[in-house]
Symmetry: C2
DNA sequence: TTGCTTATTGCAAATAGTTGCAATAACGAG
DNA sequence: CTCGTTATTGCAACTATTTGCAATAAGCAA
């Protein structure tokens, strides 16, 4: 993937080593990254980078549309590259995530836009649920705390 | 709305004044509440209640399905009563929210469940976008920072 | 009603995330 | 290449959220 250098500069923003490093980190792997993970990985490239910068850069990149932000499960904020439109299924028991490129969802969004007049830009929705494995496991202990 | 006292007790949990107060707070108004707001309101009923308890109770009630949790906009965690299945459209410019009781979304979820085997229990999805008003406003200044 | 078990709370310390501000450095202009 | 403007960073203080642990009190049984 090509880092959209020009996009940033064209909009009057600056292309700093910190931003490049963070983009590179997010490009490395195709999965979600928490701010802490991003920080640790970026630290290898930019030894002096701070957590504050990572947090600020992540929301900046999100605002610029270069990065997608999602709340996975319990409330963990995660980030990943805004390469293509896709969604996630997250198992609330085992935290497994599957990526869903679900065209139909887009269709529904489009309908919704027509009905409400909203312009929906959620290209990254995380849906909570139970994966097949955990459905089996929790069939008997519905409590989540054991039965005592 | 009736607080489902029995549900909690039946599952072996206890019905404490703190939990009742928090449920009452969330029942008072039909809108989202941040943990801080819940804390402030609960404080009026239970003078000694702590923030830790509020946070713990909110996630407890969420886990029990009595309360819905959603990330609105920027990453604010908000809670509200789990009265019925519905979703939200949140304008990322003016923070306006509209409630959507959108049966079609449920249909899509059902399809997804069939394809993936997941059991989806997201009954509260917040979709980000631009409301009609803000679309007009931002037509000219797409930057969000002025143009300088 | 009294006592017992143990889920839940409050407290305080720990961790996560945000923000103000002065110093730094990107990058366009000359 | 050098300079000036100002976006961005680092630092440190601050706010938000989580967690361990001992004390408390729900709710069952007698």
């Amino acid at each position: 993937m090509v880092i959209p250098v020009n996009q940033l500069r064209a909009r009057g923003y600056r292309l700093t080593p910190q931003r490049l490093a963070i983009l590179r980190v997010l490009n490395q792997v195709g999965t979600h990254r928490t701010p802490q993970e991003v920080y640790n990985l970026a630290l290898k490239e930019i030894p002096g980078i701070t957590e504050a910068t990572v947090y600020r850069t992540l929301s900046f990149l999100t605002a610029q549309g270069l990065v997608l932000e999602a709340h996975v499960g319990n409330g963990q904020l995660v980030y990943e590259c805004a390469e293509q439109v896709h969604h996630h299924l997250v198992c609330r028991a085992c935290q497994a995530t599957s990526m869903v490129d679900y065209a139909d969802l887009q269709g529904v969004f489009r309908d919704l836009e027509q009905k409400t007049g909203y312009l929906i830009d959620s290209r990254h929705v995380a849906l909570l649920g139970l994966c097949p494995d955990c459905q089996d496991k929790t069939e008997h202990t519905t409590n989540g705390k054991g039965e005592r």
